[in-house]
Symmetry: C2
Subunit: 342 residues, 2 copies
DNA sequence: ACTATGCTTCGAACCGGTTCGACGAAATGA
DNA sequence: TCATTTCGTCGAACCGGTTCGAAGCATAGT
């Protein structure tokens, strides 16, 4: 392998001069710099990452801790990863991907060994067991997902409360009086998915404030169970004219259910979901939805993380908890409710 | 940060003794080893990855070069990544994920800088521009996907020829005489997806050998275009009783198309796809399919790569090109063709 | 003429591990 | 009892970068 010493010899200068010529941290004469650059090119020199990390205590790598949950929708995970990865690349960082089911252990390993300059945690639970480890780590961390305790980390998440309100208010404004909200299954909450009730509570409050009826239920995240559940719900609440879905499986199953009931949106039923545009495209879903923007969240997390790593944030700058405002992507599945047959 | 020197001082021994006590590469008395281990525990010592990499020229990291193609199905990519990641973890390696659209540049960077001990290339094209770079790299590489030239690398892919034959023969054995094969769009071939015609050619040969009619077409990979194409195909070939799908979008669209035509599988039409079980579950697809086994391929690639990295393969051992035999997952969508109405 | 100044460059130390050769003490054998 | 081997440990060198202090040299200032 070609080292900085080889370059130095080829250029007829010392190793430190090569280092300075390449980093620009000290003035080097044009003539010498040219010789160095030529030697670098001709020898095909690339600095050894380990040696550089050792000398600078900077690895230029960001750790990405993903959790592959069985009922997590894979493309969404993929979008987070892509957002993180692309943004890291722009900022000059590589991504160390950890999918170790034992999150705390993996996190401890990569931070203690100084493999990474910072860490992004995906799929953060209300009471995430990786957080205590992260707080004792010397590197900064950015989260995607809102935990109960945000001290010491930067946090990014969709504003699920606002999303819940927005869904209800959108349909309320169109004149709907009775709605159904299908959330993700309860076990998602139990493993820390607080966003489920964050959205649901806000929706219930907004409905109450406007005097709307809102039937909120947790639905399964598997097919065909969720299809049956949707049928049952529509049977149980025949006067409901709006359907809110905070449950990807429900959204994916709904077209079939509507077809089977000879209903169509928005003529018979107005529908608003909460999922990413990517998800909508994948399943060709024709329903308007609150964009969950996984790529954007990943991007924001990395941006902030890099700022902290490079101390462009003043040392000890207050940590950030930033909620992305939900945006409703209109796919034409909402309208005024049909006239009451009675 | 706590270094090996701190441990040495705490245990009252030299740094080298600590190193040997931890690696076991030389005999160390039980008493000293116990002292060292205690010091490690109490100080919370973790070796510095950069320093170790520098000293051993081994980073214990595997590079994963993914390509995010616009019409690539994200969950499949996710499954590759998971297979690679899990297997690497088992073998004691971490994953450096590169999604740089400029694959050759990214590959050169991570190999030349010695960040990685080896590399897995996903989504390898017939004439992949990353291969020349990989061949000049000092680290070994494993591919998922079959390029034209396999020299110097280990290659893993589904046996698409056998898959094409298996699909045809399965339906032939049931008595079908006229089939339709919908492949992925031609631009997939153009960007190097040779597996499309590998499967198609084999299917055509097998059909010819058995005297079956096989209508082979390339279908779009987008909704709703592929749905229309399926309708058109079924209109054009009313006597076809079997449908073969080497096109994920087509498989996802088929349930709706069948519903619209008041057809059902296998009563009216026998259907065999080529996609992963994960894909089938995601879309609740009721069609039997050739399992494309992305997780398995990722796993095999890493296994072989690690074997090479750790030189358990004798130096210069011949490189491997291994095809995974297709397995038909029976979801009950095939049967004998309906009696000819004539 | 002599010192101050600035510009380049060099040498050496350092980052935190691993590993080789050597050395002292204890065990073994003659 | 002395030579030899074995065992356990240590010191030093090394991996390939970065960075600090200093030194050489030419130019400028007085």
């Amino acid at each position: 392998m070609v080292t900085i010493g080889d370059v130095a010899r080829a250029a007829g200068v010392s190793r430190s001069t090569v280092s300075y010529a390449l980093s620009g941290k000290r003035a080097i004469s044009d003539e010498v710099r040219a010789r160095v650059e030529r030697a670098v090119r001709e020898l095909g020199y690339t600095p050894n990452a380990g040696a550089r990390a050792l000398a600078t205590s900077q690895s230029k790598v960001i750790g990405l801790l993903a959790r592959f949950l069985p009922d997590e929708f894979a493309p969404a995970m993929m979008q987070y990863i892509q957002g993180v990865s692309d943004t890291a690349l722009e900022a000059g960082y590589d991504i160390l991907l950890c999918s170790d089911p034992n999150g705390p252990r993996a996190l401890k390993r990569i931070t203690d060994s100084r493999m990474v300059d910072g860490v992004v945690l995906l799929n953060v639970a209300e009471d995430d067991d990786r957080l205590p480890v992260l707080r004792t780590a010397p590197q900064p961390g950015a989260l995607v997902g809102l935990p109960a305790d945000c001290t010491g980390v930067d946090v990014f998440d969709l504003d699920f409360e606002e999303a819940g309100r927005a869904m209800v208010e959108h349909l309320a404004a169109l004149g709907h009086r009775e709605l159904i909200l299908v959330s993700q299954p309860e076990h998602v909450i139990e493993r820390g998915g607080a966003y489920v009730w964050r959205l649901q509570d806000a929706a219930l409050q907004a409905a109450a404030a406007r005097g709307l009826a809102l039937h909120a239920v947790f639905g399964p995240s598997t097919q065909p169970e969720i299809g049956r559940e949707l049928h049952a719900l529509l049977d149980a609440h025949p006067r409901a004219t709006g359907l809110l879905l905070n449950n990807e499986a429900a959204a994916a199953a709904l077209p079939t259910v509507l077809h089977e009931r000879h209903l169509s949106a928005p003529a018979d039923l107005s529908v608003v979901g909460r999922y990413s545009d990517e998800f909508a495209r994948t399943f060709s879903l024709p329903f308007s939805s609150i964009e969950s923007a996984p790529d954007r969240l990943g991007r924001m997390a990395v941006r902030q993380l890099v700022r902290r790593i490079e101390r462009r944030e003043p040392e000890g700058a207050p940590h950030v908890v930033r909620f992305v405002s939900p945006e409703l992507v209109d796919r034409g599945s909402t309208a005024a409710p049909p006239p009451d047959p009675n």
